[in-house]
C-alpha cells in the first residue's frame, strides 16, 4: 500500500514569537525564562524579520506564540526510498541494510516509485500544487547514524507545494462549539530517514543500527499559522488521519507515536516559552539557536538522480507505458474519501454532532465498526453512535485495546441494540449483556438475555401487583413522598425494580406507582 504511516519526529519544529496587534490569544509581556527570543525567532522563521529590530522591554509589548511544524511521516512501503532493502519493524539490528544504506563507496540511489506515489497522493489530499519536475539535494552533516555524511532530500524544488490543511478546534467550554481553522502547507518533500544511535553510557559506546537508514519519509512543512500547542496537536492529528485514509497499514504503531507526539506538543506551551526544539535523536529538547545558527548544511544538488518528472493526462508522452510513468490524474482518481468529507457525511447522514463524527474518526477502525453496526441494526443512528462512542469505546480504552482487538463484534452489538430498540430489555440490562459479550464466551445477546432472565417484564398485571405490595411494605417512604419529598418516588421505583430483578422499565414502574398513589 502506498499508505503513509506516521513516525513522528520533529527535529525542526519551528516556533517563533510574533508581535500581534489585538492579542487574540496569548500572553502579555515577554515569555518567561528566556532572554533572547527575538533573536531566535528571527533565526527560525524568516517571516518575522522585524522581531530582531526591537528589543522590547519587559511588559512593554504584546506577544503571541506562532507555531510552525515540520512533520516527518514515514512512508509505508515495502522497500526503502533509494534501495531495495526491506522496511520492517523490530527486525534484528542491522539486518535490513543494503550496500547503499551503509554508504559503501560506489553505490548509487535508485528512487522507489511507491514512495513517489505516496508523496503525490498526500500532496493531492492537502490541495497542494504538484510539481511536474522536482529535484533532489544533499544535506550534509556529520552524525554517526548518517553513513553517507549527507541526507538526500528535496530542498530546492520539492514534489509538492502551496497546500492547506483544515482542522477543527473547539472553542469555549462546550465541545460542540467547533471552529474550522486552516494552516498553510508550505511544501511536501521526499527524504531519507537516518539510522539509529544507541548510546551505551555504561561503556561509553554508541552503537549504530542502520535498519531505519534510508527509509522514505514525507516531510510536511506547515507554515507558522498555528497559535498554540493545542492547535498544533489538532492539526497534526488531522494530518495523521489524512495520511491514514490514504492507506492504513501499520496504523497501530502510529497511534502510540502520535500520542507521544501530541503529549509533547501539548507540553509545547512550556517548550514554546524557552524556544527550544525537540531533538528526536537526543531524545530531549535543545536550544534552537545551536542547531540553526551554527549548522550550515552545505546543500548541493544530488548528481546521481535525474530530475523527477511527473505527468498528467495532458502531458503524458505519447505511447508511454502507464506502468513506466507517474500520471497525477490517475492517482487523483484513486484518492479515497478524506476525513473531512467523511465527517461531513456522518453529520449529514446520521444527524450526529460534529464532535461525535470527530470521535468516530479519531480511533483506527472505529468508523468501520460503527458503519457495520448501523448496517445490521434497526436501532436509531443516535443510539448506535452513543453506544459505540460511550460504551464500546469506553471498554476499549479501559483495557487499552484497539478496535481490531475488540471481543465484541459489530453483529453482536447490532443484535443487542435491536433487543433494546424493541424494548425487549432495559438499558441497564443491555449494559449487563454487553459486559457478558465482552467476556467473549461465545454467546449471542439473545442467549445471554435468556440465561440471565434479563427480558423486560411484559406482564402489566404482575407489575401492578409488585408495585402494590412495595407500597404496602414501605409506608414511611410513602409518607415521606406525601409530605412533599419528590425524590422519595425514586426510592420506590428502585425497590420495585429490585423486586423485578431489574427486568422492568423504570418509566413504566413510575407510571404504575403514580397511578396507584393517586387513586
Amino acid at each position: 500500500m502506498a499508505a503513509p504511516m506516521l513516525r513522528w519526529c520533529c527535529p525542526g519544529r519551528r516556533f517563533a514569537f510574533a508581535r500581534v496587534g489585538c492579542g487574540s490569544c496569548h500572553r502579555r509581556g515577554p515569555p518567561t525564562g528566556s532572554t533572547s527570543n527575538g533573536k531566535r525567532g528571527q533565526s527560525t522563521v524568516a517571516q518575522q524579520p522585524h522581531i530582531t529590530a526591537q528589543k522590547p522591554r519587559k511588559g512593554e509589548r504584546e506577544w503571541a506564540a506562532v507555531v510552525g511544524l515540520e512533520i516527518h511521516a514515514q512512508i509505508a512501503s515495502n522497500s526503502k526510498l533509494f534501495s531495495g532493502s526491506q522496511v520492517h519493524f523490530a527486525a534484528p539490528p542491522n539486518s535490513l541494510v543494503s550496500f547503499f544504506d551503509a554508504s559503501l563507496p560506489g553505490t548509487l540511489p535508485v528512487l522507489n516509485r511507491r514512495c513517489v506515489e505516496a508523496a503525490v497522493m498526500t500532496g493531492l489530499a492537502l490541495d497542494c500544487h504538484i510539481n511536474r519536475k522536482s529535484l533532489f539535494d544533499r544535506k550534509h552533516y556529520f552524525y554517526a547514524d548518517l553513513p553517507a555524511g549527507y541526507q538526500i532530500t528535496q530542498q530546492r524544488l520539492p514534489i509538492a507545494v502551496n497546500g492547506s490543511l483544515a482542522y477543527s478546534v473547539s472553542v469555549g467550554r462546550k465541545p460542540s462549539q467547533m471552529v474550522t481553522r486552516t494552516v498553510r502547507v508550505k511544501q511536501i518533500q521526499l527524504e531519507q530517514d537516518s539510522g539509529k544511535s544507541l548510546h551505551d553510557d555504561l561503556r561509553s559506546q554508541t552503537l549504530i543500527d542502520l535498519n531505519r537508514a534510508g527509509i522514505g519519509l514525507l516531510e510536511v512543512v506547515l507554515e507558522p499559522d498555528m497559535s498554540c500547542g493545542e492547535e498544533a496537536a489538532t492539526a497534526v492529528r488531522e494530518l495523521q488521519l489524512i495520511l491514514q485514509a490514504l492507506g492504513t497499514s501499520q496504523a497501530n504503531m502510529a497511534d502510540y507515536e502520535i500520542q507521544r507526539q501530541i503529549n509533547e506538543l501539548e507540553n509545547g506551551g512550556e517548550i514554546l516559552n524557552e524556544t527550544r526544539s525537540f531533538d528526536y535523536k537526543l531524545g530531549c529538547t535543545v536550544p534552537m539557536r545551536d542547531k540553526e545558527g551554527k549548522q550550515d548544511y552545505r546543500f548541493m544538488p544530488e548528481p546521481n538522480l535525474p530530475p523527477l518528472l511527473l505527468y498528467d493526462s495532458g502531458s503524458l508522452p505519447p505511447g508511454a507505458d502507464p506502468q513506466q510513468v507517474i500520471d497525477i490524474d490517475r492517482l487523483r482518481e484513486r484518492l479515497p474519501e478524506l476525513p473531512r468529507v467523511t465527517r461531513e457525511r456522518l453529520v449529514r447522514q446520521y444527524g450526529m454532532l460534529p464532535e461525535h463524527s470527530c470521535a468516530l474518526l479519531n480511533e483506527v477502525g472505529l468508523l468501520e465498526f460503527f458503519q457495520s453496526v448501523i448496517k445490521e441494526t434497526r436501532a436509531e443512528p443516535k443510539k448506535v453512535t452513543s453506544w459505540v462512542l460511550n460504551t464500546f469505546l469506553g471498554f476499549l480504552k479501559q483495557q487499552n485495546l484497539a478496535v481490531s482487538e475488540s471481543p465484541v463484534t459489530p453483529s453482536a452489538l447490532a443484535e443487542l441494540l435491536d433487543l433494546l430498540d424493541r424494548k425487549a430489555i432495559s438499558s441497564s440490562a443491555a449494559k449487563q449483556v454487553f459486559e457478558e459479550l465482552w467476556r467473549n464466551e461465545g454467546k449471542t445477546p439473545a442467549q445471554i438475555v435468556a440465561e440471565k432472565k434479563l427480558e423486560l417484564l411484559q406482564d402489566l398485571e404482575a407489575l401492578e401487583q409488585l408495585c402494590r405490595s412495595t407500597l404496602e411494605a414501605h409506608p414511611h417512604v410513602v409518607m415521606d413522598l406525601k409530605r412533599g419529598n419528590p425524590r422519595a418516588i425514586n426510592k420506590l421505583i428502585g425497590l420495585v425494580r429490585k423486586a423485578t430483578l431489574g427486568r422492568a422499565d423504570p418509566t413504566a414502574i413510575k407510571e404504575v406507582l403514580e397511578r396507584q398513589l393517586s387513586s
Partner: protein, 599 residues
C-alpha cells in the same frame, strides 16, 4: 553513413541555467526501483542471446576471431602464430593468463598494479578453458586478460583508491562494468595504480607510489636519448604516465593485459593513454554505468577504456554500454553491440578544429602533429573547419569549484565507522572523525574537501557553485552549437606535450599540474560528450603523442569509426621493450605488428 547507429537520446533542454544535470529522461525509471524488495546485491544476468550477436560464426571461430583481434599486438605471439596455435589447441586461456602474469612480474617496477589477482585470474582462465573445450565460449572477451583501475569495486578483491582511507577495504560487490566484463569471461589480472581517489594528472600521488611510464624503457626513447647525449643517470629519469589512470595505461602499454578500465572525470583516461601510446576512450556520460565506481565528481565521472587499438576499445564499449537499473543516470534506450565499420571514404565528414585549443603552452611538436592530422583529413576529402568554443577557457576554474564541491560531499562518507581506516582515538565521535580523516586522506584530497566545503557554504553557494553550474552550461552549449553547425567530430590535442620525467613533474604541485594537464580534456566532461585519445606518432624524443577526437553525445560509435580510420592512416609504432623483456625480443622487432587494421 557514419551517423547511423547514434542513440537518439538528447540531453535536457538548455533553458534552465541554474540547474545543470546532464540527462533528463522522460521515462526515467522503467526498470528501476518499484518498491520490490530484491536480493542484495542482485546479480546482473545476461540473456543468452547477448553473446550470440555474431551468430553466423561458430564458437571456435568466434574465439579465434577475438584472439586474433586482441592478440594482434601481443608481445609473445603474432597473429599468425596465435591462429596456428589456437587451431592446434596450443594456446589456451590459461597459457595466455600465465604469460600476462609473467609480464606483470617482469614489469613490477613500473608500479602499474596495486593488487595482482593471480589466483582469481588463473581460476577464471581455467573456467574459460573448460568453456572453450565444450564449445560454450561466452563471447569476445572470454579468456582475455584485463585490468581494472583500483577505484572500481571488485567483490572479494581489495579496492584502495590508492588511499590509506581504503587500505584493506574489500568490497562485497562488483562494479557493474567489472561484472559485465567477468560475465563475458574476461580474466581479471589485478587492480591498477592511480592518484589517491583519482585526484591528479600524473599517477604520482597515491600511497603506493608513482607509476612509471613503460616508454621510459623503450628502445625508441633510449636511442633518442643516447643521440641527444644526455649524461644523467637513466634510471632516475623515468617518465610519468599521466593520470589518474596511469596504472591502467601502463598495464596495457606494457602488454600485461589486453584492455583496462580507467575512469575519466577531467581527462584521467585520455591523458595517460596519450602519454603511454595507447587508445583511451571516454564514453558519453550516461552510456556506461558508474555503479561501483568510487566517485570523484558524479556528474562528470565516466568509466574509461584503455586498449592498444580502437577496435578493441569498441569491443569493450559494446559490452559495457547500456542501461543499468542501479545507475539512474544511464540511458534507457537499448544499446546495440558495437561493430565498427572500416571507413574508406571520409569526404562526407566535417572535422572541427577549435581555435581556443591553440594555447601558448602547447608544445610545437604537438602543434605540428595536430596540423598534420588536420591536413591528413583534408587531403582525404574531409571538410576541415576552424570552430570556436568561446567558454572553454573558463573550464578549469569552473571545474575547480564543481569538482571540489562534489569531492567534499562524496568524501563525507569516509568517517571510519562503516568501513575503511579508523584511527585509534576514542575520545569522542568527533575526535575520531577528525583523526581518521586526517590520517586517511593525503593533502590533495584534504585540500579539495576544504575548498569544496567553502564553496558550498550558504554564503558562498550562489557566488561559486551556482555560477560554476551556469558556466558549465555555457561550456556545454558551445559544443552543442558547434555540432549543430554541421561538425561531426572535433580534433584536438590530448596533452600539451609528451610525458615528462618524474623529477620534472613534481616541481609543480598537484593542483597546478591538474589545471595544466586537463586543459584539452576537461570541457568534454563538463558537456558529457564522448572523446577518444588515439596515439599518432612519436616525438623527436621517441615518446608517444596522442590526439583527441570529440564526438556528439551518444554518438560514440561514429567517433570510434573516425578514430579507427585515423589510427589506420597514422600507423603508430609498437613500443619496443626488448631490453626490458629480452626473451620476447624477436616479437618486438616484428614491425608488422604495428598494424591495427583488423578488417
Amino acid at each position: 553513413m557514419v551517423k547511423d547507429g547514434c542513440a537518439h537520446v538528447k540531453p535536457a533542454a538548455a533553458t534552465d541555467l541554474s540547474v545543470f544535470l546532464l540527462v533528463t529522461w522522460s521515462l526515467w525509471w522503467q526498470t528501476g526501483h518499484e518498491d520490490h524488495v530484491g536480493p542484495d546485491p542482485p546479480r546482473i544476468i545476461f540473456s543468452a542471446g547477448k553473446a550470440l550477436h555474431r551468430g553466423a560464426l561458430g564458437w571456435k571461430a568466434e574465439w579465434l576471431l577475438s584472439i586474433i583481434r586482441l592478440l594482434r599486438l601481443s608481445p609473445t605471439l603474432d597473429g599468425l602464430e596465435v591462429s596456428v596455435a589456437l587451431k592446434q589447441g596450443q594456446v589456451t586461456p590459461t597459457e595466455l593468463c600465465q604469460r600476462c602474469l609473467s609480464l606483470i612480474k617482469k614489469t613490477k617496477f613500473l608500479n602499474a598494479y596495486i593488487t595482482v589477482s593471480e589466483e582469481v585470474a588463473l581460476k577464471q582462465a581455467e573456467e574459460a578453458e573448460k568453456r572453450y573445450k565444450k564449445g560454450h565460449s561466452l563471447g569476445d572477451l572470454d579468456g582475455i586478460p584485463i585490468a581494472v583501475k583500483d577505484n572500481f569495486s571488485t567483490s572479494g578483491i581489495e579496492t584502495t583508491c590508492a588511499s590509506n582511507m581504503l587500505k584493506g577495504y574489500v568490497p562485497p560487490y562488483n562494479a557493474t562494468v567489472v561484472q559485465k566484463l567477468l560475465d563475458q569471461g574476461a580474466l581479471l589480472m589485478g587492480k591498477t595504480n592511480l592518484d589517491e581517489f583519482a585526484m591528479g594528472s600524473g599517477s604520482t600521488d597515491g600511497i603506493f607510489g608513482p607509476v612509471k611510464n613503460p616508454w621510459s624503457y623503450s628502445k625508441q626513447y633510449r636511442e633518442k636519448r643516447k643521440q641527444n647525449s644526455h649524461s644523467e643517470n637513466e634510471d632516475s629519469n623515468w617518465l610519468i604516465t599521466g593520470g589518474s589512470s596511469g596504472g591502467s595505461a601502463a598495464a596495457v602499454s606494457a602488454f600485461t593485459c589486453f584492455a583496462a578500465l580507467g575512469s575519466d572525470t577531467g581527462g584521467s583516461t585520455r591523458n595517460p593513454a596519450a602519454h603511454c601510446g595507447v587508445v583511451g576512450l571516454k564514453p558519453s556520460y550516461g552510456l556506461v554505468s558508474r555503479h561501483g565506481l568510487i566517485p570523484l565528481v558524479n556528474s562528470m565521472d565516466v568509466p574509461g577504456i584503455l586498449t592498444r587499438c580502437v577496435d578493441d576499445a569498441a569491443t569493450v564499449l559494446g559490452i559495457l554500454a547500456g542501461h543499468d537499473p542501479k545507475d539512474s543516470t544511464t540511458i534507457q534506450d537499448p544499446v546495440k553491440p558495437f561493430t565498427l565499420p572500416s571507413l574508406t571514404d571520409v569526404s562526407k565528414l566535417c572535422i572541427g578544429i577549435p581555435k581556443e585549443y591553440l594555447t601558448p603552452e602547447l608544445s610545437s611538436e604537438v602543434h605540428s602533429l595536430w596540423s598534420k592530422a588536420a591536413n591528413l583529413f583534408e587531403s582525404e576529402g574531409a571538410k576541415v573547419i576552424e570552430v570556436s568554443l568561446p567558454h572553454t577557457s573558463y573550464s578549469i576554474v569552473c571545474y575547480h569549484v564543481l569538482c571540489t564541491s562534489e569531492v567534499a560531499s562524496n568524501m563525507a562518507r569516509f568517517d571510519g565507522l562503516e568501513y575503511g581506516h579508523r584511527c585509534d582515538s576514542s575520545v569522542s565521535t568527533e575526535a575520531m572523525y577528525a583523526a581518521t580523516r586526517r590520517e586517511g586522506f593525503n593533502d590533495v584530497v584534504r585540500g579539495r574537501i576544504l575548498s569544496g566545503n567553502f564553496f558550498l557554504l550558504k554564503e558562498n553557494y550562489e557566488n561559486y557553485f551556482v555560477k560554476a553550474q551556469k558556466v558549465r552550461r555555457l561550456i556545454a552549449n558551445d559544443f552543442v552549437n558547434v555540432f549543430n553547425s554541421g561538425v561531426d567530430v572535433l580534433l584536438t590535442p590530448t596533452t600539451l606535450s609528451e610525458a615528462v620525467p618524474y623529477t620534472e613533474f613534481i616541481k609543480e604541485d598537484n593542483r597546478t599540474r591538474s589545471a595544466q594537464d586537463d586543459i584539452f580534456t576537461q570541457a568534454v566532461n563538463m558537456a558529457g560528450l564522448p572523446a577518444v585519445s588515439v596515439p599518432m606518432a612519436l616525438s623527436t624524443q621517441g615518446l608517444p603523442i596522442g590526439l583527441q577526437f570529440i564526438g556528439r553525445a551518444f554518438c560514440d560509435q561514429q567517433l570510434l569509426t573516425v578514430a579507427k580510420w585515423f589510427e589506420k592512416q597514422v600507423q603508430f609504432p609498437v613500443i619496443q621493450l626488448q631490453e626490458l623483456m629480452d626473451d620476447c625480443s624477436s616479437v618486438f622487432e616484428n614491425e608488422k605488428l604495428a598494424s591495427v587494421s583488423l578488417k
